[in-house]
Amino acid sequence: MCADDDRAGGGGVNFPSPEFDEAVAAVCDGSLSERQAEELNVLLRTDTAARDEYLWRVELHARLACDAEAILGGDANAVSLRSPLHLWVRPVLALAACVTLLAGGAWWWRSDMRKNSVVQNSVGPAVVMLAEVSGTVWSRAEGETEMVVANAGMRLPAGDLQTQSPMSTAVLRFNDGTDVALSGEAKLGFEDAGQKKLRVLAGGFTAQVKSQPTGKPLIVRTTTAELQVLGTVFSVAAAPGSTRLDVQSGTVKMTRLADGASVDVPKNSSATASSLPDGKMNASLRAPLPESWTQRFDSGLPEGWRLGEWMTETGPDGSTHGFVQAVLESYPGSKQPNHTIGTIHARSSPAGALARLTDDTVLRLKVRRARRSALHIFVCARPLDEPTGAQMLQLHEVPAWRDLPPGQWGEITLRLADFEQSPATSSGPRGVHYIAITTYEADAGLELTEIALEPR
């Protein structure tokens, strides 16, 4: 029915006529020729009966397309939720991709951010500027009881800052350029009355600390440890009963509050301070971030994974690839059993990447789908030695996926260097921070049994 000019006839389209039927069908099927378009335009502007018939036919076509799940979904319901991990992904997952962009440090967000006016809080002198924000972030000035929404560009007096959701991020910038980046569900107290002091109230952060005045190191306090920082890049993850420190450059002195024991933690090393002293404090060399990472789902979800809610725990001590997240959401009114937004997310620190990103890194997926759909993949890469500068990599056309017959398992290997990339703000080493796999088509029935990052 891809009607060409010859078939449309030269004397215009009349109504009713087979030419009218063909032209309207061509509109619906996207195969309209220029001549058909011109003739239909004339007819529909001059013949109200033809116009109404056109609208009826287009509306019926639109209903079939929009309400296919309700009208035609009976067959598809035979496909039930089954192990391994299912990713029933809605078209709206384009939006999940948007969300992942925001969570990654949001390169697209920055242009808007810079337009924001600087807000001077009336309580106390400003000690930091909120340099970057994505998701929901709250602040509270010291002495105040109420938290308020914090926006990029605000200058804040001493107080608390809280990133509310796993996808929230915020970067505090002190006057000397020291950056402190929070992400996930974290809460941090801060002040700078000649000496910078941070209190970790929940979660953790990553900091890039400029050289501090002699005798006035930046102090970080958690419930179990105190850190003294002169100038370095490091990450802190505080959990009830313990604090983990990862140092990327420089040296950080860590003191265990329980007994006053301390250790100097050099670059590329880590140390943990617990509330129950267990002998001498040690700093251990961190294993370099591996170039490979693999996760299988063929026995269902790995231990510690949950569907239905975001996972917010930090990874196990010593882990170099942090934690993973998955969320399942079911939407009212859907005949499909569930829809899952699937992202795999590393711990929010420079060291918290799934694997090191190199020019040869490939993403390998073992997948199956119930129905044909487009597959879009988003990857967030972050510098390993800086708290900011996330980079998005995305791929919208996946030929191997397009050719994969429905119902059949297939392995797709994609070189990340071939992905469309946002500008990199850092030339240093990068790690893959998270991966989001989405489809645009409704209820594609995407199943994922293995995902891996590895050198080609």
Binding site: M1, V27, A68, P91
Partner: protein
């Protein structure tokens, strides 16, 4: 205000609102651009724009009309760059169709409620074709290959099926009214 109260941009809330409006947004786009693949592009552009502007959404007002205005705007922008669609909808026809569709809507809602029943009445082969095209979004070429027929024949068959369905909903509604 406290940290537990919703605050934009709030992804789960946005997803809930958008999903509730998604069907109407899609219909709005399809009414102007019935081509499924093209309409899908526009819906995605609309969704991205809605998310980007979600902080500006006034919660006191319903979400769907707000979303549909975005859909109309993005549809118009999309049409501006497509010569064939411009030819089809130029000289004020786009506006005329939009207005007339609004006028016909109550009747369309009433009659098209019978669409599911009419689809059920289709012969198995036709129902499979409709499911493949509209639900599975299988391309015409693949459908033709699966049937062992020509692409032209599949287009023709879809055209006939749609006309039969339209006739069916009209008849069904008329019978219900008479009953």
């Amino acid at each position: 205000m406290n940290p537990n109260s919703p605050s934009p941009p709030d992804q789960p809330r946005f997803l809930r609102l958008f999903l509730a409006s998604e069907r109407e947004v899609r219909r709005t786009v399809l009414a102007m651009v019935p081509s499924l693949a093209d309409a899908e592009d526009i819906v995605q552009q609309t969704a991205a724009a809605l998310w980007e502007k979600f902080a500006e959404y006034d919660e006191a007002r319903p979400f769907t009309p707000w979303a549909c205005r975005f859909a109309q705007h993005h549809t118009r922008r999309w049409l501006e760059r497509r010569a064939i669609w411009q030819r089809l909808l130029e000289h004020g026809l786009a506006e005329e169709l939009t207005q007339r569709r609004e006028a016909l809507r109550p009747e369309m809602e009433r009659r098209l409620a019978a669409l599911e029943k009419c689809v059920e009445k289709l012969p198995e082969e036709q129902r499979r074709l409709v499911t493949g095209y509209y639900y599975d979004r299988t391309g015409i070429g693949a459908l033709a290959a699966a049937q062992g027929g020509s692409v032209e024949a599949v287009y023709k068959m879809l055209q006939r099926i749609r006309q039969a369905l339209l006739e069916c909903v009209r008849t069904t509604t008329a019978q219900e009214v008479e009953a």
